[in-house]
Symmetry: C2
Subunit: 396 residues, 2 copies
């Protein structure tokens, strides 16, 4: 049977990379395609102990209905933690616990943008967020990326040429998929443009703590004196994504509206998971846990980059990101990118994501994305050798 869908829902197509991701879940495939934290990154024994303690000490609290806003001790702690450590959020802001940072994009889009409105975003950008924004019915306008973030003159042009601009969506640190970090100057410039032209910024920061050498610049939210920045944080990359615990820091009346909308989506986030996150960051040494994660990822990234130098360069070009989980690679102009990606998984058992998955609108795209947190070191070594074989075959 053919069903009627709303125009926005109708346009929401299963992702083009779905087939590749399905194939890449087979055990003999090298998973450069995922965005998962390394299995080594999970503090499994601590989580087990914490969880058992919660279910012994306060089982009813962990199993009963809870408030939409989130577990109060976690909200209070995160509010203070984000203010003190990152100068992010003020007393004019409030905090809402969400189902991962993903829900912040869904709530922002639902509350703030619709048909006839414009949302600006980095191009390319994370497909999950793009889909959440698109589902609002708003028109997405992509701003090309430079090495230090959005092309500001392209942004200024887009602001002139589009009307009803409601939101600008940005991943300023180690962006997915490009790995690019927006410079402090550009953060300030983007903030100033948002203030001048009356739109809000959605700052999505899942990777900020996963830097290699030095911490990224101040958050855009830390510059927010005007109540125009919505900040999305997440435990997915620094504790465990399966818990689905993220948070939103935004001006109080935005949080009130987001809370009302979240109530229609899921009533509240799993309360046991919120309690686990709270105990983990308050009863254990969260800073040394982050240090351990950084040490783990810098090692995996270095292994990957060194092998990319050896096996992929110079024909395949890439920038070495300074943190995060991804490398963004460019094939020579004469190579058929989708075919390269398909052959990689089918013949070379090595799954990579075609760059077109991150396009705002369909266009020619020579990129593919590599993730180095999910595969083991052995898989990284084997996978890079596989990609070299494919490169040699294609360029022959």
């Amino acid at each position: 049977m053919d069903y009627y869908f709303t125009p926005q829902a109708d346009k929401l197509k299963p992702s083009a990379i779905r087939e590749i991701l399905k194939l890449s879940s087979a055990p003999d495939i090298i998973p450069f395609s995922a965005g998962n934290p390394s299995p080594e990154a999970f503090p499994t024994e601590i989580v087990e102990k914490i969880t058992t303690d919660i279910l012994k000490e306060n089982p009813i609290g962990a199993l009963q209905y809870s408030v939409t806003e989130g577990y109060m001790p976690l909200r209070d702690y995160l509010k203070k933690y984000m203010q003190e450590k990152y100068q992010t959020g003020t007393n004019d802001d409030d905090i809402l616990i969400t189902c991962g940072a993903q829900q912040v994009m869904s709530l922002s889009a639902n509350a703030l943008a619709g048909v006839g409105d414009t949302i600006l975003c980095e191009s390319p950008s994370f497909v999950g967020s793009l889909n959440a924004l698109k589902l609002s019915g708003a028109n997405l306008v992509g701003i090309p990326m430079e090495e230090d973030g959005m092309d500001i003159s392209a942004l200024e042009k887009a602001i002139k040429e589009n009307k009803n601009i409601r939101l600008l969506y940005i991943i300023p640190n180690f962006q997915n998929p490009t790995g690019i970090t927006t410079s402090l100057e550009k953060r300030q410039k983007i903030y100033d443009l948002a203030k001048k032209h009356g739109f809000l910024i959605v700052e999505d920061n899942p990777y900020g703590d996963l830097y290699f050498d030095e911490a990224p610049p101040a958050t855009i939210k830390s510059m927010d004196k005007d109540g125009i920045v919505i900040y999305a944080g997440s435990f997915s990359k620094v504790l465990a994504p399966g818990l689905r615990v993220g948070w939103c820091i935004a001006p109080k009346n935005l949080i009130a509206k987001f809370t009302a909308i979240k109530q229609t989506q899921d009533v509240h986030s799993n309360i046991l998971a919120q309690m686990i996150a709270y105990k983990f960051i308050t009863e254990y040494d969260f800073e040394s846990h982050l240090e351990k994660l950084r040490a783990l990822y810098v090692k995996k990234a270095k292994l990957c980059f060194d092998l990319m130098d050896k096996h992929l360069a110079p024909e395949i070009e890439f920038q070495k990101a300074k943190g995060g989980l991804f490398a963004w690679c460019k094939l020579p102009e004469n190579v058929d990118m989708p075919e390269f990606c398909t052959t990689a998984v089918k013949e070379y058992k090595t799954a990579i994501v075609p760059g077109s998955a991150f396009d705002i609108a369909p266009c020619k795209n020579q990129y593919f994305r590599i993730n180095y947190s999910t595969p083991t070191d052995e898989q990284i070594i084997k996978g890079m050798a596989n990609l070299e074989q494919l490169k040699l075959q294609i360029l022959k």
Copy 2:
């Protein structure tokens, strides 16, 4: 600062009962206002054991990203269980694990209805679902309730008078807030009307297992030969609402669209919670757990109904529901209902929900809702005596 919200989001107001619910969370208030399962209903020790086992046996599986569709063993088991036990769902259907049944209403509304469309629903109905449906921008049309479900001639009239009818939302078993169960005849009639007029039915069934004497009639989904029923099930009332695990059974291409939309809301539901639900229903005796719940609630309901006979009748009228968690009570015409509810919580420390909270559109409403699962037996006894005092004061 005043923010621009989309027209639909702008209309979504904090619930009028919010203040009463806030007051009712104080420890000295008798909570007739909630919809929580009884704390005695939670199998806390089993959940603790199951959870510890999962985190010992498969910690990475429980903490890593998972697929949007849900934990495969849980999906497979529920599909079979619902088919075999309730003849609900066929091989043309698929199943999606959601964040409670609430998310099914959000996904249905997002996919299937928008501005210019009509959604039919019982009047009164559950405010959480109504808000999810309203947020789509569709116009909600309430159908008055009779003792055996919707007034069918009013439904036929509404079908004639409204255009672009996309959905009919119904809680056929022990409806929230009225406690009414839709008769088998009316279920069939509603199904036939949906088929004839080309709209879909969203069947929300959180309370079906919580019957007092006999099981309710067959689900509407069990009549579905045409792929027009979306079924919402939930572990919230039969295991634990804090887990936020529900499910949706619907035709495959609807589930595919819902899955794409769910991905934009939360990526997937908390995976540990899905594993807990799976182990609970497969490794423990779920049927005898349901028997225990029924015995618990029939006892609490009987206590409550007997006291209502003693303290509230005849001036306050009510029907005795045959299952579920609620009693729906009608004040005499000359009583100011909102004032009665406010005085109950402020002066008599007894929180009840004003019936207007469940209205589709504002209108005069003489009802209030009582929940008997949340308060202890002692609280039920005390609360009913309090309400009698209030009744005598008001009618004096």
